[in-house]
């Protein structure tokens, strides 16, 4: 008996694993090298149904909970963190706001085709001058009759250059901090909306991350998601999910690194023995395994609570914080096992090592997580 996984979950995991190995793994290396997302993957994903794990069946989703979603993210990250970064946007971060805050017409217009892999989505909150301090974004949306005029710059937007639509957070009331933020859907090709500059990154090179310019970009009020001023407040409701998704990503990456290092340790010879027989190496694996298991338990405990309808803010932050630090420890130790080979791009180890660094920064830095946690503890 498993505290978090039903039999159904276990079957689901195996199916996802097979899918990832069959459909995603073969595309990974080329995508990493070219720093380009393989467009044909969207259709495959759409058909698989996996883009809709979190969404109701009436929109083409699977109607599943956060536990299966995390399983999906974890298994996919074992194979390619880079590709999964783009996929995760489509399956969660960029599409959830449409579902949660959009009206029926908006859902039909954007959510349904997104889940089919026909319309690619992106999510634009972060700016050059505002990351953790989301309340300080500069991008503005001025109401003029029945349009909003959007001006500003967004940075680090995954899928930004590929997207058919972008969820943009802009200030309808610049006097206010987070309470002045409103969400809009900006479609590709809208005059004044220009994705520029594909960014070159330390990690997740297989997904495309862009800088987006909005200059006198006019969107109809039908493109506003929810009411004015509640954009960020609304978003905060879905932050926990995102955090657990990050935790699941970290689990996947650490798992992959561990497995590779284990295989290597069992075959590499030095000083007359297989290095896996050296005690220091053994202890390193022992520590890695415990660290990963602790991360796994934190993550799935949070996801399980979410699915039970329980409060899970603390759990989500703990999981995200812990696993993002854990994946660095594990990948560093795993790389150490590889020795010099850990640096060669012939092997995936150096990629895992780089991928590990992302998670303490995206979707709420570790510092932010610590703030969230201490606030939850009643400390101000």
């Amino acid at each position: 008996m498993d505290p978090f996984f039903t039999q159904e979950d276990k079957i689901f995991r195996e199916e996802v694993r097979q899918f990832a190995l069959r459909e995603v793994a073969p595309l990974s290396e080329a995508a990493e090298e070219a720093e380009t997302f393989p467009g044909e993957l969207w259709k495959t994903l759409g058909q698989s149904g996996y883009l809709g794990i979190r969404f109701p069946k009436e929109y083409g989703g699977m109607g599943k909970g956060l536990v299966p979603y995390c399983i999906f993210i974890e298994e996919m990250n074992k194979v390619s963190a880079g590709l999964t970064a783009g996929i995760g946007l489509q399956a969660g971060m960029a599409t959830l706001p449409v579902y949660l805050f959009g009206d029926e017409e908006q859902r039909q217009r954007w959510l349904v085709p997104a889940l089919r892999g026909e319309k690619i989505s992106a999510f634009g909150l972060t700016e050059p001058g505002a990351g953790s301090d989301a309340g300080n974004i500069r991008c503005s949306a001025k109401r003029q009759g029945d349009v909003y005029v959007i001006d500003g710059v967004k940075l680090f937007i995954t899928n930004g250059g590929l997207a058919d639509f972008v969820i943009v957070a802009a200030k309808t009331n610049p006097e206010k901090g987070v309470k002045g933020i409103t969400l809009f859907v900006v479609e590709k090709g809208t005059p004044g909306f220009t994705p520029v500059r594909k960014l070159r990154k330390l990690a997740t090179r297989a997904s495309e991350t862009a800088e987006l310019f909005f200059e006198d970009c006019r969107v109809p009020i039908q493109n506003r998601l929810g009411e004015e001023g509640v954009g960020f407040v609304n978003l905060m409701k879905s932050l926990n999910e995102g955090r657990l998704s990050c935790a699941a990503s970290a689990l996947g990456i650490s798992s992959a690194a561990f497995d590779e290092a284990m295989k290597y340790a069992k075959r590499r010879n030095a000083f007359g023995q297989v290095i896996g027989t050296f005690q220091a190496i053994q202890f390193s694996f022992a520590d890695m395994s415990m660290d990963m298991e602790a991360g796994r338990l934190l993550t799935y405990n949070g996801a399980w609570k979410a699915d039970q309808g329980m409060e899970y803010t603390l759990e989500a932050s703990w999981a995200k914080l812990y696993t993002s630090e854990m994946v660095q420890r594990v990948t560093s130790k795993a790389l150490q096992v590889f020795g010099g080979y850990g640096f060669l791009r012939d092997y995936p180890m150096e990629r895992y090592y780089r991928e590990a660094r992302l998670w303490e920064i995206v979707e709420g830095t570790s510092e932010i997580q610590r703030l969230v946690i201490s606030r939850r503890l009643g400390l101000r």
Binding site: F278, Q279, A280
Partner: protein
């Protein structure tokens, strides 16, 4: 670059070792297992002449040098944490008089500190004010020819047998840090009450309670309002010495761990034959050496470039005290179950090692000091000195 101690410093260390081996080592276990006043050890240390290292030459001492004090503390702490305490408190208590006392005050008190005929205490900490020195509540009100002191001091060393104290109290309670003044309180002239406490490790510690305690106004050190400066005035010379004491503790712990690992048999081998044990010992050694360099670098600066010590002495204290905790902990791990046993020196060290991370400026305070100094710097490039 000369990493050697001077011949005089080498000589001092040898002298200390010889004394400690002969007089302190035989009583060390008892001494460190006892909460009572360590009368025998105090007598021995008085007679050793090492108290002369806390007083300037003009007053019968050897001259105060941070490096000398570090050498002495390191050697004492290797063998007995209480012996180290008995030694250094004379310096901590006496140094405010050395730096800020009038000629008359220095002539009156310092010779008796130097020959050990009187013991002296440093009374700053209160139940409500540790790190936040400026928050101390003790007051000193001028009344005719006396100051009247009211307040409570805690974590006081050997309070029932130390009859000279440098006491910090506010002559101007409204003025925060600038309202603090320092006084020499002589128990033969002024009344106060004493209580004893027990800490996680054995030492003679307690509280001093001042209730309308009258202190002659001539006992004011320096001027009213200079108390904060006087309290902090010890740090340059003495902060590195805390690090030195923990070097001694860690050194002893590592020594013990090596011995244990060499002797202990298991799984057909000696504990030291296992790779992980070797790695542990290696890490302990590296950390101990790193701390040693930091401590003596800070002490050297205190003696030679006194205007520039903040970062270095805080770094030394912070790193060495934290290092000692880690090294002692790992040494205990190497000992296994026996390390948990009261009879084991490592057991005492484990409890004793926790304190230096707190007293004389917590680790957090050290980091604050360093952080603040860094904020003032334009660049962290080093000049012509390490």
């Amino acid at each position: 670059m000369d990493f050697k101690f001077t011949p005089q410093q080498v000589e001092l260390r040898k002298k200390a070792r010889d004394f400690i081996k002969k007089e302190i080592a035989p009583i060390a276990d008892e001494l460190d297992a006892d909460y009572d006043f360590p009368a025998e050890a105090v007598e021995l240390i008085k007679k050793s002449g090492f108290y002369r290292y806390v007083v300037p030459e003009e007053y019968g001492g050897q001259g105060v040098s941070s490096i000398d004090l570090c050498i002495l503390r390191e050697e004492f702490a290797k063998i007995s944490t209480n012996a180290d305490e008995i030694f250094i408190m004379q310096g901590l208590g006496g140094y405010p008089i050395v730096r800020f006392g009038s000629e008359a005050q220095k002539a009156k008190y310092l010779p008796s500190l130097s020959d050990g005929s009187r013991l002296v205490n440093f009374c700053l900490t209160e139940p409500g004010a540790g790190s936040d020195v400026a928050g101390l509540q003790s007051t000193a009100r001028l009344d005719g020819d006396d100051y009247v002191i009211n307040g409570r001091k805690c974590f006081m060393s050997k309070p029932d047998h130390t009859d000279l104290s440098v006491v910090f109290a506010k002559t101007d309670p409204a003025a925060g840090a600038k309202g603090i003044s320092a006084f020499v309180v002589d128990r033969t002239e002024s009344n106060y009450e004493v209580k004893t406490d027990r800490l996680i490790f054995e030492c003679n510690i307690g509280e001093i309670i001042f209730k309308d305690t009258r202190v002659p106004k001539g006992n004011l050190l320096g001027e009213e309002g200079r108390g904060m400066r006087i309290a902090l005035g010890n740090l340059g010379i003495f902060r590195p010495t805390v690090g030195a004491a923990t070097l001694g503790m860690a050194h002893r712990a590592l020594s013990l761990a090596l011995d244990r690992a060499r002797q202990r048999e298991m799984f057909g081998e000696k504990l030291i034959d296992f790779q992980v044990t070797q790695f542990k010992l290696a890490q302990m050694k590296v950390e101990l050496d790193a701390a040693t360099l930091l401590v003596y670098r800070a002490a050297w600066l205190a003696d030679n470039v006194p205007e520039r010590t903040s970062i270095e002495s805080s770094a030394a204290k912070y790193f060495a005290t934290e290092m000692a905790q880690r090294v002692v902990d790992q040494a205990l791990q190497i000992h296994g179950g026996i390390g948990l046993h009261k009879k084991s020196r490592i057991e005492h060290l484990y409890r004793a090692a926790r304190a230096p991370r707190i007293y004389e400026g917590t680790s957090e305070i050290q980091l604050l000091v360093i952080g603040r100094e860094l904020m003032k710097l334009e660049s962290i490039e080093r000049d012509d000195r390490l």
